[in-house]
Symmetry: C2
Subunit: 603 residues, 2 copies
């Protein structure tokens, strides 16, 4: 099986290759030498995969397509105020090589020759003699490889470019150009003569579609601001006097060149590059247009054809009474949580956070704030957040904190892209706690409640064996017997009491302090409080399956299995009772685990 | 705590209400009577929530904003070919009331007066005398309420509308209008005099942003195709000769009217409506523009500023050897699955499926097809799929089926919107199975493997008690004793063997056939095969916690607890052994459940 998009592009190529209408550009002699039969199509995805069909590796000159990238470069290096002060952004309503300027003597937009020459002039003013090298390098970064220049085409353009020369002198007359006109024109002619392939154009377009980051190289070339403005002028003026029809019919920002190339960049979706030298009366590649139209129509890709259901962004919304942390807590803690854990509200989000999504989340939070003293937001299924989402989130948190809520976020690393979006430097978050794992966040919130309601006093006292669940319903004689054959043990914080892989030849009754059951990797399986046993699986297994560590000073009674065997011989029914207590404990844990599986697998 | 967006809109209102620049429209006398101090802002979300600030409930005439909706109505009722044959879609480069037509005598676009009058003419041609009523009703559906008409403004427009009369007669000269010119103009003047509020405009815009479905009423008013084309002409021509700047600076499709209103519709995000009667030299509301600019800039909402990481769409990718179904299978089935279950590949998707996302998924599938005889795709976290995604999915499935794979989809109802998108009528899916629940899908796939590798033979034979896990390591004498005190029972398909809530006074050893453990709600907890016990929790619990149903003809041995008590008395150590076997079984199930919790909560 091949990816279906490959098949679609092949069918497009097969269908449109038979269209021989249009004519190769002839306004400079060198361009007429193009092979009119060439036809290449390439589509680059925003995750960096490139489809190629036909003559996708044939080089041709980039021509006017360079205008979009040089405009982006000017915005990026000189800032938008400088650029916008000399170049407009309105469609001109005239041909691309018109010499007419706006009422205040600016080129109409950067996609007509006057605007593009002004752009090259800005770069020249900034970089001097190195201007073309800077442009050349930047075009190469967009394509993900070093690009050649067709010196013959350059020479041909320079030799015949009198109209552009006229435009340049007019721009200099109005101080739009301030440098040597010939030097600026050399930069402009040479940038138009850069050699690209359909594949290069696809990657360049995908870089625009990917917010300025080349999806093959990971190189962030221009900012998202610059990308949006570049795509804007492509949208309003990229296809000459066919721009209105283009947005109406195809709805994908695009730019064409008389060399026969077209780029089309659909934000967050794809970059398309086509090459076929025969042009229509507007100067756009005939077959290239058809590929763009077919792609948009077949897949419904029009930019303005979008919908969303924001309500799906909250995948789970529950409280910690329903889904407690994994900590196995003693009865006195469980009692506190039974009464109060509904104050811990957990909201698990899913999908990219946009303006609309975060506004919806903020309204859900606003509706429920008074009841939620501790609010946990889980982001582990959230790949990204837009600026809008970060802004709304920051303000929602400020409002919640003002209402006295504690906010806990979980499910991402602070250093990740999402973390940066949420903890961005200009964002001040009051009363905010961060945990990598949701379970740790819930446990911390539970501890807050237990602390608030006095539960930690329980940890200090020593628990008698009669309170051990595993020894429930034993007589006091039997308990005394077990105490007698057991060994009192003390551990200090950080001691490893049990090691995975060792023979399981004893069990422990925890009397004071806390221990954690962990995998050798460090992942915590459970926390044990006084009144609970650990290593109790020794009753049915021969080897320790996990480590047990002392989290605090610990006192416990260790019961060696050898001594217990003697006890069982003399008390066979008590042996069965203890095994039954173990089965009961396991059954309870299984019920909890199954409830959790049900909850988790519901989404 | 209030939603932060409310605060933002209030701050906008507070800031811009002090701006007294611009002037109330005076081209018709009635409009000059507007209160220049009025300022209303409203934002409607695509989930149907409406924010309102200031004079958001003050009525004013819709004027040119009606053009967008009447164009949409014309496209919807007459079809795009008819409409596009008489009205262009290129920016005119001239004032909104220009009388100039294109080279082939069409209005430039539906946002200038000529194009809008042509639209009203098309509706009139189709609806006759009822034309205005149809337009009026449709505007009301967009706003979600019945709208009034300002008869004084209508009369004033009609009395002074000589320029529009000239345009209309010119259109009739070129047969763009074919009906009575005065009747068409009455429709046009009256549609401009429909009274709306900023809130109405917000809802109307949100309906465009929500693919033509009013988010308050759920009314699907026009098709997504019509919405995309309407937003296209708003993008290229909606803000008069400020359109290029508008897409560049604000990047949200918009339309303004001389009554002081502006609508802005950002697809899949929001609809904005503003009202402030003072206009700038382009004819756009001064304060309204500022609100749009502030909203776009503060939240980075530019239409072309988008990014995505498609790789996050696959949230889990595993095989059924790692995550089997919940069916508790007998050893001989487990052996088959151990060997073969890696042929069942499960891919769980998350988030809306777009072109880029589904292309990525299709490449992942293409890469792994040969190994995956049974491929399960889980959609439970997928809210929607675009046309593009459906198309790519359909073709990917055809390719996989041609390679011999069986595809199983789960996690949605066939009748749901997603189901319709995936099972759309024009989509023919070979070798496709559908299950609502992922677990059922995995179980079905496991059954296919067991069937393929001969495992179902096992079901036919009768299992001796010695193969019962609960009775492992009992001597043959002890087994004979248990056989003697047990009662052989037979059930037929559909019988309820155990009912939740009844006293738990016996346990069952399944010898042939299949039973299911279910909650009274019908949700299945487990399936039991020969060699396994059920109702075995009677050993530690007093009451049945679930129903058990016979899925097939069933033969089993029921062991009454009363008889078992006698056995335990005489065999106390065997009693402990059986309890230990139970603890072992529970421990194994707990380990499986915990592994599942770990896997599920990783995402």
């Amino acid at each position: 099986m091949h990816p279906p998009l490959r098949g679609f592009l092949r069918r497009c190529h097969e269908q449109f290759v038979t269209d021989d209408s249009g004519a190769v550009a002839d306004y400079i002699p060198e361009l007429t030498r193009a092979n009119p039969g060439h036809f290449g199509v390439s589509l680059a995805t925003i995750d960096g995969y490139v489809y190629e069909v036909g003559d996708s590796a044939s080089p041709f000159t980039i021509q006017s397509i360079s205008k979009a990238f040089v405009f982006a470069l000017a915005l990026e290096t000189l800032g938008h105020e400088r650029v916008e002060s000399v170049i407009g952004v309105e469609p001109s309503g005239e041909a691309f090589n018109s010499i007419r300027l706006t009422g205040d003597n600016k080129p109409f937009n950067p996609m007509v020759n006057a605007g593009a020459i002004a752009c090259s002039g800005l770069i020249h003013q900034h970089e001097g003699d190195g201007a073309f090298d800077v442009i050349h390098r930047m075009l190469g970064r967009f394509a993900g490889r070093e690009l050649d220049v067709d010196e013959a085409v350059f020479a041909s353009e320079r030799a015949t470019g009198d109209r552009n020369r006229a435009i340049a002198w007019l721009l200099r007359n109005y101080s739009v150009l301030r440098d040597d006109v010939d030097a600026v024109l050399d930069v402009y002619f040479r940038q138009c003569a850069v050699l690209v392939t359909a594949r290069d154009l696809a990657v360049m377009a995908a870089t625009l579609a990917n917010n300025g980051c080349n999806p093959l190289t990971g190189d962030q070339i221009v900012s998202p601001y610059v990308v949006a403005r570049t795509l804007s002028v492509m949208t309003s003026s990229g296809m000459y006097d066919y721009a209105g029809e283009w947005i109406y019919r195809v709805g994908i920002p695009a730019k064409s060149g008389v060399g026969g190339g077209i780029i089309a960049a659909l934000p967050a979706q794809l970059g398309l590059g086509t090459f076929s030298p025969r042009l229509d009366s507007h100067g756009n590649s005939v077959r290239g247009l058809k590929v763009c139209e077919a792609l948009s129509a077949h897949f419904g890709l029009h930019l303005l054809n979008r919908s969303d259901d924001v309500r799906t962004c909250i995948i789970r919304d529950y409280n910690a009474a329903a889904v407690p942390s994994r900590r196995n807590r003693p009865t006195f803690e469980l009692k506190i949580l039974q009464q109060h854990a509904s104050a811990i509200r957990v909201i698990e989000l899913v999908g990219a956070l946009s303006f609309a999504v975060m506004d919806y989340v903020s309204r859900r939070l606003a509706g429920a704030a008074p009841q939620a003293a501790l609010l946990i937001l889980d982001f582990r299924r959230v790949p990204s957040a837009t600026t809008a989402a970060s802004r709304l989130f920051e303000e929602a948190l400020a409002g919640l904190a003002a209402d006295g809520a504690t906010i806990i976020v979980a499910g991402f690393e602070k250093e990740s892209r999402l973390g940066q979006a949420i903890f961005g430097e200009d964002i001040v978050l009051p009363k905010l706690r961060h945990f990598l794992l949701l379970d740790d966040a819930i446990e911390w919130a539970e501890d807050q409640l237990i602390y608030r309601y006095g539960g930690f006093e329980g940890l200090a006292k020593t628990i008698h064996l009669s309170e051990q669940e595993l020894l429930a319903r034993l007589t006091s004689d039997e308990l005394d017997y077990i105490t007698a054959i057991g060994v009192a043990r003390s551990f200090k914080t950080g001691d490893r009491i049990i090691a995975a892989g060792e023979p399981a030849d004893s069990l422990f009754f925890l009397q004071s302090g806390m221990v954690s059951v962990k995998l050798p990797s460090g992942a915590r399986l459970a926390s044990i409080s006084p009144g609970m046993a650990f290593g109790e699986m020794a009753l049915i297994e021969r080897e320790r399956s996990a480590d047990v560590w002392a989290d605090t000073m610990v006192q416990c009674l260790e019961l060696p299995l050898s001594a217990y065997a003697t006890f069982r011989k003399s008390h066979p029914e008590t042996g069965e009772l203890i095994m039954r207590n173990l089965a009961s404990l396991l059954s309870k844990r299984l019920m909890l685990a199954n409830a959790k599986v049900n909850l988790l697998s519901a989404y």
